[in-house]
């Protein structure tokens, strides 16, 4: 018996089991979050849990179907799928249904499809295909092309506008890094982010300049501190570093100070000019710069209250109060984690976080065992996407990340994301199952 015929025996059982577990746990929590005693049946189509059952059915069918598709087809069709999704994203801007100010939906009866949720799948396939053809991601051309592959759907999604979903593409930076993007870029990115946060935190504060009667604004103060650090570093280098390297170090110091200044300046500009008011507010609330529980911080405060009130072992299934009585906004979609927290307590939340962690680690492990470069990179894409969703969704529910509306995979109510994540995972399972028959 050839390995090729034995493909179904090689489906990764732990992954499939975790997939089903997460999906049914999510369903149970949606049932609780949207529970209505007059429509107690979990299949009641007038309620979110009933609709979610339909989406689960569709997802399971699609997932089953995708397991039957030969692996090379994903690779061959990757660009086609990518192009098709780009087309859908363009189309939705024209004929889409506007919900909450974003043209993001194709309406089909009472069910809606959100093409942006498939963008990550399409991008993952296209990016993987491109990267798997390269030796390494070191030249400018390859960097430019991969960036373009990532940014094209992002641009279209931003037009809807749906910043949250667009942000998910940030996950692909991890993939690029893994495939050879200079670590310095990542490091600089983190540094820039750090500076950005600092300058936002200091934005509203003023500092007295010693020996004068002048006041400095927060960002100016930050610049001054950086300049002083730079000057100190300059003299330190002159006295401590061997002459041979001194020139280069000095260049780095000047560049670093200038880049920091530019970063602080552009952050200020981007914050004021590019972001919308509600996005600015959310970021300020997350940074603790704005405390207004009845307004902007409402979501975060309510969701933390719901989770915090769950205690160690929770209030019991269907016994949540804040999540059931609409104190938590978007309690069955973006804030579904609150239901877990309130009804299952710390035991429940820790279990879910650990389950997701194990899922992501398992995907990374799968990635490592591939002989096929395509499958390896693809698996890494999937792991990165799940990681980002987990970080942002749970992070915002517990007040560690700004409120960015992206779903918790398999938990949050919504068909498009359910199908999107199923495709991501199903494709991975199929590709992985063929690892023995696949040539490098």
């Amino acid at each position: 018996m050839s390995a090729r015929e034995n493909v179904s025996a090689n489906f990764d059982r732990p992954l499939l089991l975790m997939y089903l577990a997460l999906m049914f746990m999510g369903w149970a929590n949606i049932y609780s979050a949207a529970y209505d005693p007059e429509h107690a049946s979990i299949f009641d189509q007038s309620k979110e849990y009933g609709k979610q059952a339909v989406w689960m059915g569709i997802s399971l069918t699609l997932g089953g179907a995708i397991l039957l598709v030969r692996g090379h087809i994903f690779r061959d069709w990757a660009n086609g799928i990518y192009a098709f999704v780009l087309l859908l994203l363009a189309l939705v801007l024209v004929i889409g249904k506007e919900v909450n100010g974003a043209k993001a939906w194709f309406g089909v009866g009472s069910f809606g499809i959100q093409p942006a949720e498939f963008a990550k799948y399409a991008t993952a396939l296209a990016l993987t295909r491109y990267l798997s053809g390269l030796k390494a991601l070191i030249d400018f051309r390859s960097r430019a092309i991969s960036t373009a592959i990532i940014l094209a759907p992002v641009a279209l999604i931003m037009l809807q506008p749906d910043t949250g979903t667009a942000l998910v593409s940030g996950a692909f930076i991890l993939v690029l890094y893994r495939e050879g993007l200079s670590g310095n870029i990542l490091l600089l990115g983190i540094l820039a982010a750090f500076l950005a946060i600092l300058s936002l935190i200091l934005k509203e504060s003023f500092f007295d300049l010693p020996f004068t009667d002048k006041q400095l604004s927060g960002p100016m103060f930050l610049l001054l501190v950086i300049a002083i650090i730079g000057a100190l570093a300059w003299f330190a280098a002159r006295n401590l570093v061997v002459k041979r390297l001194r020139r280069r170090i000095h260049a780095y110091i000047i560049l670093g100070v200038l880049a920091s200044a530019g970063c602080i300046g552009s952050i200020d500009y981007a914050f004021e000019k590019v972001l919308a008011q509600h996005q600015r507010d959310r970021i300020l609330v997350m940074l603790g710069q704005m405390d207004d529980p009845q307004g902007i911080g409402y979501n975060v405060k309510q969701s933390q209250t719901a989770i915090g009130s769950g205690g160690f072992s929770g209030k019991g299934y269907l016994d949540g109060t804040l999540t059931k009585f609409k104190y938590v906004p978007m309690q069955s979609t973006d804030f579904i984690f609150c239901t877990v927290g309130e009804e299952w307590g710390f035991l429940g939340t820790a279990f879910v976080v650990i389950l997701f962690t194990v899922l992501i680690l398992r995907i990374i492990q799968i990635s490592d065992r591939q002989r096929s470069k395509f499958t390896r990179i693809y698996a890494y894409c999937v792991a990165s996407i799940f990681f980002l969703h987990l970080t942002i969704n749970v992070g915002m529910a517990i007040g560690l990340a700004p409120v960015i509306g992206i779903p918790l995979p398999f938990f949050s109510y919504g068909g498009s994301s359910m199908i999107g994540f199923t495709l991501l995972l199903g494709t991975l399972v199929r590709l992985d199952a063929e690892r023995l028959s696949q040539l490098r």
């Binding site: 050879g180 209250t305 009130s309 109060t321 939340t349 990374i364 990635s367």
Partner: protein
Amino acid sequence: MNFEGRKYVLIAAVLAIAFIFILRLFWIQVVDDKWKASAASMAERKITDYPARGFIYDRKGRLLVANTPVYDVMMVPREVKSFDTTAFAQLIGVPLPELHQRMIDARKYSLYKPSVIEKQIPAGQYAAISVHLHKYPGFYGQSRTLRTYPPRVAAHLLGYLSEVSPAKVAADPYYKSGDVVGVGGLEQYYEDVLRGRRGSRYVLVDVHNNIKGSFKEGRYDTLAVEGKDLFTGIDIDMQRLGEQLMRNKKGSIVALDPRTGEVLCLVSSPTYDPELLVGRVRNTNYGILQNDPIKPLFDRALQAQYPPGSIFKIAQSLIALDEGVIKVNTSFPCIKSLVGCHAHPTATSIEQAIQFSCNPYYYRVFERMVEQNLDKKSRFRDAALGLAEWERRMKSFGLGEKPRMDLPSLKGGNIPGPAYYDRKYGKERWAFSTIYSVSIGQGEVLTVPIQMANLAAIFANKGWYYDPHVVRAIGEADSVQARYREKHVVEVAPHWFDHIQEGMRRVVHEAGGTARQARIPGITVCGKTGTAENPHGQDHAVFICFAPMEDPKIAMAVYVENSGFGGTWAAPIASLLMEQYLTDTITRPDVMKRMLEADLIEAEKHFVKKPKKQRQRR
């Protein structure tokens, strides 16, 4: 190039995030309690169920106090849609600017929680409002109860309800700001019994303040306990008649059933309509009553302390007889140089002494009680010993200490004993000559009307009494409060009372008696008039009595202030009341008419004070 090692960056990031999240979750869910409290304050509401306050009945089962529904118009600002405020203001009878202000205040308080827009609209008025209320979304009526007094009598006795004071809220955790509490009278004394116990339910509400069900299946709920009814010994007919007879007079009437100690009527005049202190009008009316110069809020029956005057002589006679210092037929000449007296034949027996109310006679009697030669060396020590025994016996009549009665704000009067005079003059610095005015119920002796009525009950019973009380039974009409089943026996042998009763009978029924006006056709009445000295004006008239002599069913004390002699006003009023109580009829409409029409308050204004007579001393 090999970037194999870079996978550990992602693994490390995943593990770091997982670790941070779990740490954070542990913090907010297990360690930090503030979220639980704030969740509870958000979604759990305590709903208080106020039990109906108990009713108060008279001795024949007629209502003295009941509850009546009134309505508060409430507003939930979130549900209010724009409406014609002028029409609405007219409907609920609130001036437009006031309505606007109240709506602004309600909005400030909460958008979701109801606020009171107009308080305590009577049921009749509310009926007209309620039919239109549906046109104003966000407004609704909420029923509450107020006290109502169907017979409109006995205001002092019953007390009233008032909003609880901040001091009371601080002292008693049961009360919350805005609660009502009984003030004065039975409402105050039986507050705990009448109010019942309020219950509370915990419910879950959603973000729009809609009730979504009980919290934990009502595990923490407590049921409201209904207030208990009070069954009093008051006779509404008699109470009303008493208040009518005392109209335009200052004074008080206390009537007791000597067999049980139950209060039959307790009148303090001037009185007021108890409905004046109910609901919205209470504060205004209270101010008016409080500033009224005739002091209608002052309960004379329980708080006014007067010298007992001649009535005290009966108690003096009893103690003297029991101590053996006089005999039934002891005679003293009426020597007016000892103490002033009026013209009468010499009293040759104790009965006559009572009948004539001879002052010098009792001067002698009291002298014998105080100076018993127990200490032969010092008349000062001797007086102290004699007076100590006298005080003990006198106090057994329920005098000199607060009555053990079921009403608040009681006064006890004063029976001066050796300790009192030691305090006043110093030890061994006083003797009989210092205190002789006590002999005729003047001087430092003070009694309150309720004690005098009880004294009449003791004379009627020949030496025993139950503590006077208003409420016979709590909750069930047939029971009797245990503490009022305890019989008190005075320190005088029963057979001495026969002579006293005979003396009191003569006061009413024989020629020369001071209270011939108290006669009731067909009933033997025993009585004794008295005059309480009033340093500020004309003396107060007192009359105590009981009837029928053979089987006493009623004992009473009547005080009419500034009316001079007890026989003129107090005795006829007492006789009318006793007749009403014993026979349910009034056979002397002429007396009735004269009593009803008398306006002693008006007369008092024209009274010119006589220069005070210098009391004659030995």
